[in-house]
């Protein structure tokens, strides 16, 4: 995995761009994400079904992972089973 990779969910429509990452498994809806969708969709794990929002950035507690959601879906994102959270930046006034 490297920054700039586009990953697709095996369990829903979610797609993300990898901004920052480590060696862990990036998952959506409880199933590992990959470059392409599998032929048979994975089941959506109820514990990881909060949904993703387009344009939101998702990070882990250490800041080692950052994913940009480019297509929303019903699954939610995790790394090695630990849920990622949205990165809430203070809105800035438009400067251009």
């Amino acid at each position: 995995m490297k920054p700039g990779t586009r990953l697709k969910s095996a369990a829903c429509d979610t797609e993300v761009m990898v901004i920052r990452c480590g060696d862990g498994a990036i998952e959506c809806g409880g199933a590992p994400m990959a470059d392409a969708k599998p032929a048979d969709a994975a089941a959506l794990n109820a514990d990881h079904s909060g949904g993703t929002l387009m344009g939101k950035r998702y990070v882990d507690a250490d800041g080692a992972y950052e994913l940009l959601c480019v297509k929303p879906g019903k699954g939610s994102l995790s790394v090695d089973g630990v849920a990622l959270v949205t990165k809430d930046a203070k809105p800035l006034p438009a400067s251009d």
Partner: protein, 499 residues
């Protein structure tokens, strides 16, 4: 990651929303992204190594910027105001390019350089015609250079500043909330396409899903007319434009500017008098001062609407002074002030402004200007107050060194501008046999006032500053020379004083 993602996401979220209005023609996000895909085909067919724009702002700027990005070649908008000889030199440095714009001029001055040239209309029409369907092919991953901008080259040959996809994306993802704009929101863009502000304006508005209204040739009358007609909510202006808009508004108070929520300004020093007037005339509009450079992918510090209001309402001179400040660094950017030995300055102590962050490229085609720790020396001189507000005193190269004493032109100008009959002022170094350099000043007299006594000006500076700051030579001029971005051309003032 490729900057084209910004346009693709905008189009995925709201394909039928109008993304751009220029010369009365309206483009939806889906149409813009399709045309950009078509542009890739044209670029690849031409074998071009660059995509250049030699034209005023139009839809072609958006199509060329994103088409070049997807094709994996740098987008290089050129300053059409340059003299033929200088422009031919720049075109030679990016040959072979696909050039969009003034066909006749390219043929005349660079006909032998191997460029492929399209007029604005041809380019947009052909790109739409040859656009493949979405998902039909792969595009560049965006690991290289997205934009190359030639610096204005006032001191030497223009340098080719390069901005990577990662720099521009770092700026946009760090500062703009995706699809945050309402469908009724509109941004009025008047900065030229070859300026970094012209590029960041497109990227920011597109990612926010905000409609862009392009005004290629600024006049205050048309600017105000468009604000009313398109119910413009956001705008960016340079200080000289603001001065002219205010003059027009004062003539015609009936103009409806009630839709304007946010006006950002930058590109040059905003006179205190002008921003004070703007704050009182525009009522509910929030003002933002943006400070940035080409090499930093636009804004690195800003003074927001609340800062403006607080400064205006405050009795504390320290807080009031912030009306002329550049504000505080973006949360995603670090700023330091360093002295000549490279040591960090204490609050209030002047030095050179250094910037670091993902959006900071600091890179030229020839070499990188970043130091080993990734800091970019801006060559801007300034200081930071104890609350982290940044103040600009001028270019480091503009400092006047009189007998070993460093003097900032801005400090002297600010004092002279408190004189009733002076409306604009510029201090520069002039050669001095005794001191190496001394202060020379060009002044513009306010309408309806007589020329001030030279002795009065000198006494004002002596009383408020020190005798070393007193100008050796003072001239009064009709107006000071500014470029189209509102930047004071100090070299020209030196020439005037040398006459």
């Amino acid at each position: 990651m490729n900057i084209a993602l910004l346009l693709e996401m905008a189009s995925d979220a709201a394909p039928d929303r109008v993304g751009l209005v220029c010369d009365g023609k309206r483009w939806t996000y889906a149409e813009l992204v399709a045309a950009a895909r078509g542009a890739v085909e044209l670029i690849e067919q031409s074998g071009a190594e660059y995509v250049a724009l030699l034209d005023e702002s139009s839809e072609a700027a958006v199509i060329a910027l994103f088409g070049a990005a997807m094709a994996g070649v740098p987008y290089c908008p050129l300053n059409y105001r340059l003299a033929d000889e200088d422009l031919a030199g720049l075109l030679g440095r990016i040959a072979p390019a696909l050039v969009v714009g003034d066909e006749a001029r390219v043929a005349r001055i660079a006909g032998d350089q191997g460029h492929t040239v399209f007029s604005r209309e041809q380019f947009a029409a052909k790109a739409q015609e040859v656009a493949p369907e979405a998902g039909e092919r792969e595009y560049d991953p965006g690991e290289g250079i997205a934009v190359q901008l030639f610096t204005s080259g006032t001191t030497a040959a223009p340098k080719a500043a390069i901005l990577r996809h990662s720099n521009l994306l770092g700026y946009i993802l760090g500062t703009v909330e995706f699809a945050a704009a309402e469908e009724t929101d509109a941004a009025l863009v008047v900065v030229p396409p070859y300026h970094i502000a012209g590029i960041s304006a497109l990227l920011s508005s597109i990612y926010a899903n905000r409609r862009i209204i392009m005004l290629p040739a600024f006049t205050p009358e048309v600017w105000l007319q468009l604000v009313g007609a398109e119910r413009v909510t956001n705008a960016f202006v340079v200080p000289t434009m603001m001065t002219r808009i205010i003059a027009e508004l004062e003539k015609d108070q009936a103009t409806d500017i009630s839709s304007l929520r946010s006006v950002a300004y930058g590109g040059g020093k905003m006179p205190l008098e002008v921003i004070q007037k703007a704050l009182s005339l525009f009522g509910d509009t929030g003002f933002t001062n943006a400070y940035g450079l080409t090499e930093t992918s636009s804004t690195v510090a800003l003074l927001g609407p609340d800062d403006h209001r607080d400064a205006l309402a405050s009795d504390d001179p320290k807080v009031r002074a912030r009306l002329t400040s550049l504000g505080q660094p973006l949360p995603t950017v670090e700023i330091e002030i360093r002295d000549e030995d490279g040591k960090c300055c204490a609050p209030g102590e002047p030095g050179e402004i250094y910037v670091r962050g993902e959006q900071v490229s600091g890179e030229y085609k020839e070499k990188s200007a970043l130091d080993a720790e990734g800091w970019f020396p801006t060559r801007d001189a300034g200081f930071m107050d104890e609350d982290g507000y940044l103040f600009l005193s001028g270019r480091a190269d503009d400092v006047i060194v009189r007998g070993g004493e460093n003097m900032s032109p801005g400090e002297i100008e600010d004092v002279v501008l408190t004189h009733d009959s002076i409306v604009d002022a510029c201090a520069v170094a002039i050669p001095s046999v005794e001191w190496g350099e001394a202060v020379g000043m060009a002044l513009v007299v306010r309408d309806g006032h007589g020329e001030p006594e030279e002795a009065d000006i000198k006494e004002l500076i002596r009383a408020r500053l020190r005798s070393s700051r007193v100008p050796e030579r003072i001239v009064c001029v009709q107006e000071l020379p500014y470029n189209e971005m509102g930047k004071l051309l100090r070299r020209k003032v030196k020439d005037i004083l040398a006459e």
